[in-house]
Amino acid sequence: MTPTRDPLVDALRAAATGDLAADLDAAIERAERDGLVDIGYEVTDSPVGPLFVAVTDAGVVRVGFAREPVDAVVEELAARVSPRVLRSPRRTDEVRRQLDEYFAGRRDRFEVGIDWRLTRGFRRTVLERLYAEVPYGRTVSYRELAMRVGNPAASRAVGSAMATNPIPIVVPCHRVLRSGGHLGGYGGGLPAKRLLLALESGEAPLL
C-alpha cells in the first residue's frame, strides 16, 4: 500500500497517526445528536448465536440471525431504508439490553418501538396481529393466525409472512407452529426455534 520507502514519507505517516477509533466514535455521536444517522446497527451475542440488530428513529427495523451475512443485511437496509447506515452501539443499546433480559428469562415482552417498514400488505397485517396478540409462552398455528386476520384459507400466506419476518424474536414468529404441534419452519433454524420455545415454556434456563 505504501507507495515509497522514502524515510521522509515514512516519518510523515508515523507522525500522522492519532486515535482513529476515538475520533470516529466522537464523530458518530455528534452525527446521531444531529439526526444524521438513519439506521444504527450492532451485532450482539445470544444463546441462538450472534444476532444482528438495526434500529431507526421509529424503533427496531431488523433482526437477523448469523445465517444472514451482516454485509448483505446492511446492503439491504441501505437500499430499502436509507444509505445512512452506521454501526452504533448507542442506538442499539436498549434493544440489546432487552434481548439479554429476554434470554435470561427476566423479560416476557419487549418494550421497544417497532419500525414495520420492511414488511407490507397482508404479511404486515399478520405480523402486527401476531405481535399484538400472541404473548410469551403461547403458541398458535398458521391456520389459527390466518383465521385471526379474517382469512382462514390463507395459512400458506401466513407461512410466508413468518418466513419473511424482518424482526424475528421481537416479533415472535417462533410462536407460530403447524397444526398438530409440529414445529414448522424457522428463519433462524429449527434448533433456534426449539430453544426459544423451551425458554418461554420455562423448561430450560439459558443463562
Partner: protein
C-alpha cells in the same frame, strides 16, 4: 441508463474502506491539535450530503474533496487569527511524536512545522498522495488541477520538505 437512481452503499462501508486514510489526511493537514476536528467535520458534512448524492462512481474522491474543503476552511480561519500559524507554534516545543528517522534525525514536532510551512497546494498534494494513498487522477480531482500539476506539486513539496528537515 443515466436516469436510474444511484445505488449508494451503506455509509458504514465508506468509513470501513476510507476512514483510516481520511483520518491520516486530516492529521497531516491540520496537525495533531486540529486534525481530529477536521476529520469529524468531514464525516458530518459527508453524512449530511450523502442521501442526495447523484454520482456514486468515485466515493473516495468525493469524501476527500469534502475533507479538502474543511482543511482549506480551517487554514483560512487560522490565518485570520492574530498569530499567523498558531498550531505550528503550539507543536514547536512539543515532545517529538516520532523517534529519529534513519538518516534524517527528525522529530514529529519539527516535521509538523516543516509540513505546515509548505504552500497549501503542495501540502495537500503530499497528504493526498502519501497519507491517503490516492492515485494522481483523484488528487487532481480533489485539488481541482491537472494530473501533471498534481505530480509537480508532490515533487516540489517533497524537495522542499527534504531541504527544510536536513538543515
Amino acid at each position: 441508463m443515466r436516469s436510474t437512481p444511484v445505488r449508494l452503499p451503506p455509509f458504514q462501508r465508506l468509513l470501513d474502506e476510507h476512514g483510516a486514510a481520511l483520518h491520516r489526511y486530516c492529521l497531516a493537514q491540520a496537525g495533531p491539535d486540529h486534525g481530529p476536528d477536521c476529520f469529524q467535520e468531514t464525516v458530518l458534512a459527508a453524512l449530511t450530503a450523502y442521501p442526495k448524492l447523484r454520482d456514486a462512481s468515485n466515493l473516495r474522491s468525493w469524501l476527500f474533496t469534502i475533507a479538502h474543503h474543511k482543511i482549506v476552511d480551517h487554514h483560512r480561519r487560522q490565518a485570520r487569527r492574530p498569530r499567523p500559524v498558531p498550531e505550528l507554534a503550539a507543536v514547536d516545543g512539543a515532545p517529538a511524536t516520532t523517534g529519529p528517522v534513519s538518516g534524517l534525525d527528525l522529530g514529529g514536532g519539527e516535521l509538523w512545522a516543516a509540513v505546515g510551512e509548505l504552500p497549501e497546494k503542495q501540502r495537500g498534494a503530499i497528504a493526498l498522495r502519501y497519507l491517503a494513498d490516492l492515485p494522481y487522477a483523484d488528487i487532481a480531482a480533489v485539488l481541482g488541477c491537472s494530473e501533471a500539476a498534481a505530480r509537480q506539486s508532490v515533487r516540489a513539496g517533497l524537495t522542499r520538505l527534504r531541504t527544510e528537515v536536513s538543515r
